[in-house]
């Protein structure tokens, strides 16, 4: 295999048949090129979606109450379940839960400052919501524990609200009226990874007091400590069971207690991308097989074309083994080199696109206060896949060369050298 003479022999053949070699190699290079582009695009899409998920903490979970749909412990269905502050305390004490924030819905959300006004959403919350929904502070601060404790009329405005009401003036320390109740602006925020910042945040205790909420809560946003779908499901079940015990409803009753587990959805989506990746491999492998069949085909023609030469070689002492080696190694050499070129070009193109995407992302982020929105990120193929593809190529080359080589070995010198 590492006989220098043999390689010189093969290189001489290739050098003398440049066009043929080029055409043979092209199909393989194209196959690998397409495979790399497909894989890169798949990765790009997958990375883009993953980053979109990152807007909120990936391990976030939301809970909301409703009416029971299953009779439980002698009580009829259609019973309203109402969360209260004690449920907040209950959730806080579950060790698997990192951050918890309760919310009380306020109806009617008319925001006014001076002569400017608009309809926005005021979300009542605990300070922990910042972690759950990855809220970024543009200036000032977020709701803090003192706001909660003292039920202060503080508000953190979304960037869009600030722009609409204040038109670039200093807002912190000013009062905006929400449903005609004055709130002091303590901060301006951006929603994590989003492009719209039309929510305002007020302390949940204030919301309850000012808007007749007593100790009632409508939903919870929380983050959990889980690394897998299984773990997150176990925690979700635990949370549901704790609330079900307290409010006396069937833990499986999804109408009484609604829950949305982002980690589960995230991991499921990632699974879909795994499936897409497998699909891409299948398509890519198909393209590659077409290339390999092409090589095999051309090598068969090569063998036919070289019948005479192989006959001469055999007449002057070439063994069948050396003839097989000659054809096989040529096929492997062509597929490997051509494939490698395709690999480099394909990954190169994807790296180029990556550069472009990043630049665009930065441009989008610059015009949108540091928050770009992209469905396509980092469309590159990692080195392991490239290495796998290279090994695959050598194997493919051997496969492509095998049948033609066998045929070459069967050539009888007499038939090859017969003069027609």
């Amino acid at each position: 295999m590492f006989d220098i003479d043999k390689w010189q022999e093969i290189l001489a053949t290739i050098k003398k048949n440049k066009m043929r070699t080029f055409l043979t190699g092209f199909s393989v290079a194209w196959g690998i090129f397409m495979l790399m582009i497909l894989l890169g695009s798949g990765n790009g899409l997958s990375n883009g979606v993953a980053q979109n998920f990152m807007r909120d903490a990936v391990n976030a979970m939301w809970l909301w109450s409703g009416r029971t749909s299953i009779p439980y412990q002698g009580m009829k269905e259609n019973r309203q379940i109402q969360f209260t502050n004690t449920d907040y305390d209950l959730l806080k004490d579950i060790p698997e839960i990192e951050f918890t924030s309760g919310r009380y819905f306020i109806s009617g959300n008319r925001f006014a400052y001076g002569s400017e006004f608009g309809e926005y959403t005021a979300i009542t919350c605990h300070p922990e919501l910042r972690e759950v929904e990855s809220i970024e502070i543009a200036s000032g601060r977020f709701i803090n524990n003192v706001d909660i404790k003292e039920s202060r009329k503080s508000v953190v405005l979304g960037k869009d609200i600030y722009d609409a009401l204040f038109k670039g003036q200093e807002a912190i320390g000013e009062y905006v009226r929400i449903n005609n109740v004055p709130f002091k602006v303590v901060g301006i925020c951006l929603e994590g990874g989003g492009t719209r910042h039309r929510n305002a945040y007020v302390p949940v205790t204030t919301g309850q007091k000012v808007f007749n909420g007593a100790n009632r809560l409508h939903n919870f946003a929380l983050t959990i400590n889980a690394n897998s779908i299984e773990e997150s499901k176990v925690i979700e079940e635990k949370v549901r069971a704790a609330l079900a015990r307290k409010h006396k409803f069937d833990p499986t009753d999804r109408a009484a207690l609604g829950s949305y587990n982002k980690l589960e959805n995230y991991l499921q989506t990632m699974r879909i991308f795994e499936a897409i990746k497998i699909f891409i491999w299948i398509i890519g492998a198909g393209t590659l097989i077409a290339g390999v069949v092409g090589v095999s085909n051309i090598m068969l023609i090569v063998v036919k074309e070289r019948t005479k030469e192989i006959g001469i070689r055999k007449a002057i002492g070439a063994t069948p083994g050396s003839v097989i080696g000659l054809i096989l190694l040529e096929a492997i050499l062509i597929t490997t080199i051509a494939g490698y070129i395709g690999l480099v070009l394909g990954t190169g193109l994807m790296e180029g696109i990556n550069l472009l995407v990043e630049r665009q992302f930065e441009a989008a982020a610059a015009t949108n206060n540091g928050n770009g929105d992209m469905i396509f990120r980092n469309p590159t193929v990692d080195i392991n896949i490239a290495a796998t593809a290279t090994l695959l190529l050598i194997f493919a080359g051997a496969l492509a060369g095998y049948i033609p080589a066998k045929r070459a070995a069967r050539i009888k010198p007499i038939e090859a050298l017969r003069d027609e």
Partner: protein
């Protein structure tokens, strides 16, 4: 050197079988200079292929320098061809993308001689053929006579015991043909057995022995002394016919 005993050969199978050689008995001693003649279909090419271990035979026995050549593995046959035999063909059969020197050196490649050494030896043989200035020329840059001399150099480089030539002058003009025959004669003078297949009588007449094949059997063997007489007879016969 060559000893054939009742050799039979058929092509094809079943009903389409064509019986080409129908029992050839032949002794060619070491150092002989022999030509094989016969009309097309007489089996002369088949015989040459068997002698050159390029083809198998069905029946009988063939001893080459004391070794029985029968049912050999391809690998063994290739080795034997490489060591014992040199081939010269009508259409030269040089490898078109190799220059003269590389063509001549090729048999040594299959003996495992390293590149430098085999190219050096190839140049020596080309020199003997008076082709040293053409060593780096490709076959398509050479004349027919030059090509055949390259082919002869290639057949000699492995120092074979037998040279097998299939119509070596078939594609050459008369003057060049005679040149090539001179070279073959010289080779024979060095003690190498030379076997030529030809249908040209003047070429055959330059050998020491003519074996005439007819319908798969040897019809006559003419020794050198009888050649002239035979030639006259033959031309007479042809003129009257």
């Amino acid at each position: 050197m060559i000893h054939l005993n009742n050799v039979h050969k058929s092509y094809g199978t079943g009903n389409n079988s064509l019986h080409v050689l129908k029992g050839i008995d032949l002794n060619i001693p070491k150092g002989a200079f022999v030509s094989i003649m016969g009309s097309s279909g007489s089996g002369k090419s088949t015989l040459l292929n068997i002698l050159g271990i390029l083809d198998n035979y069905d029946e009988g026995s063939y001893y080459l320098d004391g070794t029985l050549v029968k049912d050999m593995s391809e690998k063994h046959a290739a080795k034997l061809r490489n060591e014992m035999l040199g081939f010269v063909f009508q259409s030269f059969n040089l490898i078109s993308f190799k220059n003269a020197m590389e063509n001549v050196a090729l048999p040594l490649y299959y003996q495992g001689v390293n590149r430098k050494k085999r190219n050096k030896i190839a140049l020596e043989y080309l020199d003997k053929m008076g082709l040293l200035p053409w060593a780096t020329h490709m076959p398509n840059e050479l004349s027919g006579g030059q090509k055949q001399r390259v082919a002869i150099a290639r057949s000699l480089i492995s120092q074979p015991k037998v040279i097998v030539a299939d119509e070596p002058t078939g594609a050459l003009d008369t003057a060049t043909s005679y040149e090539v025959m001179e070279i073959l004669k010289e080779i024979n003078g060095d003690g190498i057995t030379v076997i030529i297949v030809t249908h040209e009588h003047d070429i055959a007449a330059m050998t020491h022995q003519i074996i005439r094949l007819k319908d798969g059997i040897i019809s006559e063997i003419i020794q050198n002394g009888e050649l002239k007489e035979w030639k006259q007879q033959y031309t007479k016969a042809r003129v009257t016919a």
